[in-house]
Amino acid sequence: MNPLVFAARSLRREFRHGELATLAAALVLAVAALTAVGTLASRVEGAILASATELLGGDLGVVARRTPLPESFSSKAAELGLSSSRSVEFSSVVFAGDKSQFSEVRSVDDSYPLRGALLVKDAAGIQRSAPAPASGQAYADRAVLNTLGRSVGDHLQIGGRDLQIMGEIVSAPGGPVFQFAPTVLMNTVDAEASGLLGTGSRASFRILVAGPLDAVGDYASWARANLPASARLITVAEAQANLRNSFERGENFLRLAALLAALLAGIAVALAAQRFARRKTEEVAVLRCLGASRNEIVLGLGFELLLLAVPACILGALLGLGMQEIAFVFARELLGATSGTVPLAPAGSAFVVGLAVLFGFALPPLMRLRDVEPMRVFRRDLQTRLRRFDALYLLPFAVGGLLVLLESGSTQLAGVLAAGLGAVAVATWIVTVIMLKGLRAISRRLPGALRFGLANLNRRRGLTLIQVGALALSLTALDLLAVIGPSLLDRWRADLPPDTPNYFVLNLQSDQRAEFDQRLQALGADNLSLLPLAAGKLVAINGKNVRPSDFEPDSRAGNFVEGEVRVSWSADLPPSNRVIDGRWPGAESKGAEVSVDKSWIDLFHLGLGDTITLRFAEQEITATVTSVREVDWDSFRVNFFMMLDQVHGESLPHSLISSFHLPADKALSDLSRAMPNLSLIDVNSILDRVRDIIGRVSAAVTWVLGFSLAAGILVLLAALAATAEERRFEIALLRTLGANSGQLNAAVLGEFAVLGLLAGLVAAAGAAGTGIALARNVFRMAEYAPPLLQLGLVALASAIIVMLAGLAGTRRIAGTPPMLVLRHGT
């Protein structure tokens, strides 16, 4: 026998039988979901990078303090074919007539910006992207213009140079999101001519480069080797820290949806394959009788699967590519910065995963056909001997586990999902075994038809366990897609409520507080928070001096040691902070205490009881670590890595830092005029950007969740139809014995209601637990409560759906004359 020819022929015929169609459909859905999500995720990843380079203003930056970077940093860039741009940041007093304002100034060359766009408003208030300021020109932000009483078109003076104001700055690329945005932008030619950049100035000098990825990489390694003492590299990763969180959450959502779709498909494949194998048993017995060897049979089945799988996977990949294109429409603007080419690698890996799912889930039942005894041609009821333990049955779990690990992209997501689904499987098994025992005990007291239905559950104990397990797992996946996913998305959107602080104020002095409060109140500002701020240096840990040279150059820890450390204090734990170890220093602390952010604890390998020595001007404080905090850095509030106890904090020279929410129609010009020493930071644009990302990514996610859900329901219905089909024989028998349709329905309804309710409840509990774990460990959302009522309703609904699907499947069978069924057997 040529197994390939035989396989092709069998495939053609059996496709029409249904099992193979179910198998193919499940596979198409799985590959489609994985392709769509993988492609989308990789395009989103590209967008993250692009948006980060926009924020940074280039692909890589080098910053030096006080002394300009050597000329070689420019020539090396040119040599590598990179474009480069130099800029300088410094503080200076800006004059206009009799008014003046202390400002953060950035001077740039003509190639600024390399990435992203400089947005300004012209005299008419119309927003446009603008070129770098030419010599004799400047851009200034609203606060500066207000204080100086000037508008676009007027002039201002910096370092004795007269500059015409060409526009009001809306956003200027060139630094990490929360670094102080420049308030005046001018040309470096003017800055140098003014003498503001001479030795002794506190300026920081920056060069940004942009170009092909490998050239940027070469430049980075060259720069690292030739870095002057005061200089450091700024990478895209640093610049994107804030947006990255949003994107990562979105990506995790996408992956979750795809994984669940793939697992659902796996379950469907397993059920369809089992049904297929059952139907195939007799054929195999006949073939064995006619002298086909085991290997020929296995080879034939393998080829048949392969012939089925390859086109199904191709179709799925194409479908997935089409779908991600639709989802992409939602996020087009957001991802507009990426090139239009669609990455094909995710489709390729989805194809491979599809094959793995098929063989992983379908092989075990099909391999059992090896063991079909030829005697079966005479005795239909001859059970294929079941080996007690078949290692093959570990295959679906291995493939499922591998799938979760590879596709989740994060070990947390993989761990939570694997643990959740594993727990559901175990719980289902236990609950079902108990239920079967219970049913046996009470079955004598049940009415006849119902007793028959429920007795069936006990008679096919193994099958019942498999079915309830598969049902519970798929319902868990559905619950996660339909209830948990959307509620997590809601929770995410609520992360940035309308009253999220959109302004930060620095440099506020204690004696200005009353006036500040009153003015803000008058403006209708809310969500006001005020914290003291003292800037110092980290000198020692546990009495041992720390120097920047103790750490890797450019490492986060090294930068912290080298730069300023800002600390604060407060009687109460500030919002969006959580003490995870130790206790918050109360007002009554005796020795100096400090509460440290978790990431710092890890960074400096600290523990409770360690001491940290900080120097503030002439004063030194050695504080004991008494608590570890977890801080929600995405909360748009003022947060600190270190918080001292109040008593010791108050003794330090300090200013106040404030954040608040100002309604969109209110301006702070009066405030900045009345209190010119304040530094105002407007984060409306970054807030808008993050909100925009959340909105678009969650729209794309909702689409994928919905698709996976639809796929899951289809798969579930197919599986249930198969389950109903298995009852053909019994129903025909009952029919023959004269059971009316009412009695038939009672038998089937009872059986399926028990199956559905059991699976639904276990699934709801499993989904709730998995949801909590997902919120905490994957999406890092505090205080997430799964919607239990909704889950309960879904459990009830799934019991009803299972019941109706069972009934529908049986209806069809009950319509056929019983003799036909009895004659043709299963």
Partner: protein, 222 residues
């Protein structure tokens, strides 16, 4: 051609061990025909399965065309069947996914023969189904299905034919036609025939008769 030595078969049932075949011995010459008769449940099918090497006896041995079946493993027994044996079953056992011609081609394909299609078509013509080559089993009547099964049983020229109640699922007239065809083909191919039936008329057409009762040979007119 075929001989059995003290064949016994016991199975483990819910009420303990059950002996369904008890030391049956027989031998059949090349070209001869043997009918196994007996009441339902007397062990006929069990014996046939053992003779054809579809199952292993609890004790005893079978030699088929010189091959000691009990000393071969399942794969080797399959090869013997492929080469030497044809089957006809009570419930036809045509593969529902294959049409008449493809069903008949099966044994030839298993042997890897290239002329499978022509041979199948010609044998189907012999059994009077030359115009139904591309019909599927469900499009054929019971009698027609059994004729396809006969074609399949003879198509590769087996030396031995096992038939288990070949007319059991057919009405009397159709059954008679099918058994006429069976014996005609048997004569034509000079095949050794082992036939199981509780129909004594059909059994009487065989040269020799073996009667089973409760798993034991109670009559053997050899």
């Amino acid at each position: 051609m075929l001989s059995a030595e003290k064949l016994s078969k016991a199975v483990d049932g819910p009420d303990g061990r059950l002996l369904i075949l008890d030391e049956v011995s027989l031998s059949v010459e090349r070209g001869a025909s043997l009918a196994i008769v007996g009441a339902s449940g007397s062990g006929k099918t069990t014996l046939l399965g053992l003779l054809a090497g579809l199952d292993r006896p609890t004790s005893g041995s079978v030699t088929l065309a010189g091959e000691p079946l009990d000393r071969l493993d399942e794969e080797a027994r399959a090869r013997v069947r492929r080469r030497l044996v044809g089957f006809v079953f009570q419930s036809f056992h045509l593969l529902p996914a294959l049409n008449a011609e493809e069903n008949v081609m099966l044994p030839l394909e298993l042997e890897g023969r290239r002329d499978a299609r022509q041979r199948a078509a010609s044998v189907l013509a012999d059994v009077g189904l030359g115009k139904r080559l591309h019909h599927y089993p469900h499009q054929l009547s019971g009698g027609e299905q059994q004729r396809v099964a006969l074609a399949r049983a003879f198509v590769h020229g087996p030396q031995l034919l096992f038939a288990d109640e070949p007319t059991g699922n057919l009405d009397q007239r159709t059954g008679a036609a099918v058994s006429d065809l069976l014996f005609a083909l048997n004569r034509e191919h000079a095949t050794t025939l082992v036939l199981v039936s509780h129909d004594l008329d059909l059994a009487a057409r065989c040269a020799r008769l073996l009667r089973l009762r409760d798993g034991r040979v109670v009559e053997d007119d050899a």
